[in-house]
Amino acid sequence: MRDAAQIVLLLIVLSDLAILGTSRLSSCIRGLAAQGVLLGLLPVLIAPQLSIHAVSLALGTMIVKAVVLPWFLAWAIREAAVRREIEPIVGFIASQLLGALAVGLAFAIASRLPLPALPQPLLVPVSLATLMIGFIVLTTRRKALVQVVGYLILENGIYLFGLTQTESVPFLIELGVLLDVFVGVFIMGIVVFHINREFDSLDATRLTELTD
């Protein structure tokens, strides 16, 4: 179980790097969905024994993060007719290098943090790496929809960090967080859709110009 969890965590970092390197929005969303499935597997894999708590958390995570949100984002790109990120503020090669740097930094920071003994030592560095990569995507891309993807990766990082505490956090709070994220993305998706209607573009840099 421990090894399986380790492999899942490594695959999560790989999906982060993959999302960082693709320009096509649909591939980004597919990467995000794959990451959702991996995140859903984790609570079951790191739980000391199979409990209803872990299984329901896994199911809830998978439904929201691997099915509903990607489906919704896919709907949004179809409606808004955006296909790819044309010119990110930081290029794809540079952002991939930044991502690799972020992974290194995450491991360096995690090794210095005074942490209690965790069920899975890789959990903290991977969560920090995911957090930072989400932040890179959020800040360096121009298309509003990719920024939503970046926000979701950021949230996945926070979720991973939360997994270190699954034993002590009540189940309802976690479901509440999932619901919050879902509603947040829902609103963002609708806003993005309306921006696209109004401005004929999803380029966030153009939102600085005031129009009547």
Partner: protein
């Protein structure tokens, strides 16, 4: 030194020209064509060796030396690799840098020969080859660094020999990342599909093929054999990481070597028929991705 390394090297030299054939055959079969026979390259080499060479008047000794330098550097590099899975004929601390350097020297000679012809096409190919190499070489060294950290041994014989087999249960994740990264490098260094198309004959899209346009006869034979041998060397690297053979008896290790090289060639063929060639501007991104994988493997070992 026992005999098995030399036998393994001999096998490597003999089977090398079959590898591009197997890759090409796989590609043909997967796309519903019959394709050239697997052993076509052997016939081509024999034909070319029987011909005379034609040299342009603008070329100098640089051009004539290149095929020999390419082949010799590859042979010397092969001496550093534990082809039979245990021990290389030559080993010393830090020979991994020598291995990368020898490959770079061979490429340098080939690129100089391309520039020596004075043809703009070959200059174009030389510039592309060097551009790609500048991304591939750091990635190769990063792979080696990760392997050094996994096995704690600073020579190729140790990295790919018995310490590696012992490291798999402990560092399987890093090793698989390194293996995947090495396979991407195999495709890039040997001008296979996502980076270059070995079948193309349009000068504007070629990378490796365009540099050797002016070579003919025995020179071309040496270069063709050299590129097949380089593919085999990278195949041995990938195989060494994924299939440690240190604990096996000599015949089993050698049989596994030949079978494994066949599998690598088939994998190359499958990738070639499943993917299209990437646009030239996207190639560095692929190689940076491979480098990022190797870096990640390194970080995992440091943590």
């Amino acid at each position: 030194m026992s005999g098995s390394e030399l036998i393994a090297l001999g096998i490597l030299g003999v089977v090398a020209p079959a590898l591009p054939g197997i890759a090409g055959k796989t590609k043909s079969l997967l796309t519903g064509r019959r394709g050239p026979p697997v052993l076509q390259l052997y016939a081509d080499l024999r034909k070319l060796l029987g011909k005379g060479a034609v040299y342009s008047r603008t070329t100098t000794w640089v051009f004539r030396a290149a095929p020999v330098v390419v082949l010799v550097t590859l042979f010397v590099a092969a001496l550093l690799l534990p082809v039979d899975g245990r021990e290389a004929p030559a080993r010393f601390t830090g020979d991994l840098v020598a291995f990368a350097g020898l490959l770079a020297l061979g490429r340098f000679a080939l690129v100089l020969a391309g520039l020596d012809t004075g043809s703009s096409f070959e200059g174009l190919g030389a510039s592309r080859e060097v551009t790609i190499a500048s991304f591939a070489e750091p990635a190769l060294l990063l792979c080696f660094i990760a392997l050094v950290l996994v096995t704690g041994d600073l020579s190729l014989s140790g990295m790919l020999g018995s310490p590696l087999a012992a490291a798999w249960p402990r560092a399987g994740a890093s090793l698989s990342l390194v293996g995947i990264s090495l396979f991407v490098l195999l495709l890039a260094e040997n001008s296979r599909v996502p980076v270059d198309d070995p079948a193309t004959h349009l000068e504007l899209t070629m990378i490796h093929e365009v540099i050797v346009l002016d070579h003919s006869g025995p020179d071309l034979a040496l270069i063709l054999y050299g590129s097949a041998f380089k593919l085999t060397l990278f195949g041995v690297l990938v195989l060494g990481v994924f299939v440690p053979r240190a604990g096996l008896s000599t015949p089993a290790a050698l049989a596994l070597l030949v079978a494994g090289l066949g599998v690598v060639a088939v994998a190359v063929g499958v990738v070639e028929s499943a993917m299209a060639r990437l646009r030239l501007v996207r190639v560095p991104q692929l190689l940076v991705g491979a480098g990022a994988l190797a870096l990640f493997a390194t970080i995992l070992q440091l943590a």
